[in-house]
Symmetry: C2
Subunit: 204 residues, 2 copies
């Protein structure tokens, strides 16, 4: 967990900032976003109000900092997975595998992301969010273009591909993170990879 924050806030100097993020994440996970107060975080981190506000500006900023740290880590884990693919099918399978593995390994961060997304998207950090989302599906759309030309992938409305590929896996991850299903995402990894491929392939 610390390692995730060290990517975004490196150096011994920022150890305390990372510590606050760590404690805040734990509080948010245990009590929910609204229910955790700044003072709860202050106590847990053995810090001070001034320190928290200095580093994060306000509660929303703290949530956003955690959200973007999680998003960046997810991105960093998923991007390389797809680069090794030789065919469109391999790219799709690699995408789903990487996603399900990340959620399973970083359950705390993943749960936080789902909970905090609305808050971040609604606030003043919306722009940063949009920018990263564009970059996110760039590589994938290239693979799809190739696949369509090669006759391996169906030509569908552009704006539906992302949902068709990741929607099922994401839905299951939400269910798992909130305790509605038991098996962790990786335990059905082939089911979801196969379903994603069937959804877009010409001949599944």
């Amino acid at each position: 967990m610390e390692s995730v924050f060290e990517r975004v806030e490196p150096g011994a100097r920022r150890a305390h900032k990372r510590h606050i993020m760590s404690c805040a994440l734990a509080c948010f996970d245990e009590q929910g976003l609204e229910a955790t107060t700044i003072d709860t975080i202050r106590q847990r981190a053995d810090s001070s109000i001034g320190s928290i506000y200095h580093h994060f500006r306000n509660k929303e900023g703290l949530v956003a900092a955690l959200y973007f740290a999680a998003l960046d880590d997810q991105q960093a884990c998923m991007a390389p997975a797809m680069e090794g693919a030789a065919t469109p099918r391999e790219a799709v399978v690699a995408l789903i595998h990487a996603y399900l593995k990340w959620v399973t390994e970083q359950a705390l961060l993943a749960r936080f992301m789902f909970r905090a997304r609305a808050a971040v998207a609604g606030g003043p950090f919306n722009e940063g969010l949009k920018a990263r989302n564009k970059a996110r599906y760039g590589a994938l759309l290239e693979w799809l273009e190739k696949g369509v030309k090669a006759g391996e992938i169906r030509a569908l409305p552009r704006e539906t591909y992302a949902s068709l590929l990741i929607g099922q896996a994401e839905n299951y991850c939400r269910a798992w993170l909130s305790g509605r299903v038991k098996g962790d995402p990786t335990s059905h990894i082939d089911v979801f990879a196969e379903a994603a491929w069937r959804s877009v392939a010409v001949t599944p």
Copy 2:
């Protein structure tokens, strides 16, 4: 919209309660859950603090009331759609069609549901939520059972079916409701119905 609340809170007696719900929904949609204050709702509904707290106990209760009203309406619109199906394929297609139509027609309620879900699931109304979710997929799972026995639907882990069927459509609806894609859900209705069927069918 009023008609939706009349199902849950019927009668002329409760007109004011419904009016508060209506105004609260509009406030939540325009400013987000956290940003709208009780006083904002009071002003918009031309009501009083006491009245709001009398009807809904607290802010969380108001959110939950809206959430369950939306959930019930969605349920009421989707349940009959599947009953007319003659084959597993028809059942799956009917499910997706009904879902996408409801979200498109009740965009305000649908957006609210996605935003409020975490808050409702985290709070003391969690039990009511679980109960309704069980009822929700009951009819569907029956169809799947039949389909599996008839050799038309693949035998997959039980807990993955719901995600496989609805995940893609839901993901697209989220994207549409938050402005990330342009085409409304019904404009891709066949794409998502077909993808859902391919995901679970033996021979798509």
